[in-house]
Symmetry: C2
Subunit: 242 residues, 2 copies
């Protein structure tokens, strides 16, 4: 089997910030498919695979290239049906979309503002102007304005992970089942890769730790980092908790 | 096949408020299992099935009785494996738990306060003192205090459903797939029954409609009410939208 190539957004010091690339690296490992992660700059994306792809991840599998993390996940289950599935049913896929949407609504927007300046500081030199211009347009303010006073907003962002904490918790207000060790139950699944990839993004740039040292998410996150031969430890990370 | 009996919380005018009973009635219908919904008073629960059950739903299947909606759902998939499954995998079950937890965190607590007085007004006469005492203890305030000024809090509660709206939406900020017609994709699943049962609870009591008339959730909710021969139209409801 030839190795699948995944174009993986890179920053300074070989940091790999993209949460969407992380989930696909986990998806490839979950399916036992050998892959090569090729570091790319943000501004080089339009030149990859003959052009036409707007964002990473992009995978190249032989002569075929696919972008968009959901399209890639679907492709992998279709092209490699005999490998462990990412989604055992359409319902499971749609519920993973709900996980992504919940995560972005409850924590994503807040965290982007809190960490966007940290991301910028680790962006490759050639990407810096493009990053600042596009992200400031999206935020409607400068990176420095988004970042100002962020310590006061961290607690609200932390609270945005409460539904994941409770899903992993045994007992408590939601008594039936649960207890992890993974969001997907006894074995890790795509929901773990979505949320884990999100925390790997934060960890790859954060100069202020996201989680408190006693956050029950931390044990789960360390488990996710250990998966697939320690995939979540293969690029530089700052402390995620303190 | 003998009919399964489900003890179903009832209020005045044969209203059926319990969201947990609703999801199990849908689960039974989903599996094609004939059932009889037996109306019960809140204060009669301890006398049912020889005692020992703290809450409804309780099902009786031959000589076996099971309570707790998650335990019942698991029982139904185990006892009737050849019928359509509620959960195609352990991951799908855990993700449905995440749906429940997200729903309760983002909207449940707010809505309980907003509608608790409406619930009380439709509680059976024999349950009224018990309901007021236990619910006021849980709320840390009187039912009237919880209810005061509720119109001002409705918009925040409505916003708590945003992740479900976006999951059902085709296109928009989350582009890949989706578009419903159900939360579980092309066919309804347990996640639809959890959220649908929750809205049936609100609808069974609400004297102020929860949703705006242009809420995209509404079309989905009407679809869920139509399922399984119009199961969601089998007890009196107030308008859910205006």
């Amino acid at each position: 089997m030839t190795s699948i190539r995944i174009y993986d957004l890179t920053g300074r010091d070989d940091r790999r910030p993209s949460p969407f690339c992380w989930r696909i690296k986990y998806a490839l490992a979950h399916k036992g498919l050998p892959f090569e992660a090729v570091p790319v700059a943000l501004t080089d994306i339009p030149t990859l695979c003959g052009g036409g792809h707007k964002a990473v991840p992009i995978i190249e599998d032989g002569s075929k290239s696919v972008s968009d993390s959901w399209a890639i996940a679907d492709y992998l289950d279709e092209a490699y049906p005999d490998r462990p599935r990412l989604f055992s049913s359409r319902a499971e896929r749609e519920l993973c979309r709900f996980v992504e949407i919940s995560l972005f609504l409850s924590a994503g927007t807040d965290l982007f503002r809190i960490y966007v300046k940290d991301i910028y500081d680790l962006v490759l030199e050639k990407d810096r102007d493009y990053f600042r211009k596009t992200r400031e347009a999206r935020l409607g303010r400068t990176l420095e304005e988004a970042y100002a006073g962020r310590e006061a907003r961290l607690d609200a962002a932390r609270a945005g992970f409460e539904s994941f904490r409770l899903t992993l918790q045994k007992g408590g207000p939601f008594l039936s089942g649960g207890g992890g060790p993974f969001l997907s139950g006894e074995r890790p699944g795509y929901a773990d890769y979505i949320v884990g990839g999100f925390l790997l993004w934060i960890g790859s740039v954060a100069t202020v730790p996201l989680l408190r040292a006693d956050d029950p998410l931390l044990a789960w996150f360390e488990r996710v980092r250990d998966l697939h031969g320690g995939l979540g430890r293969t690029s530089p990370m700052n402390p995620i908790a303190a």
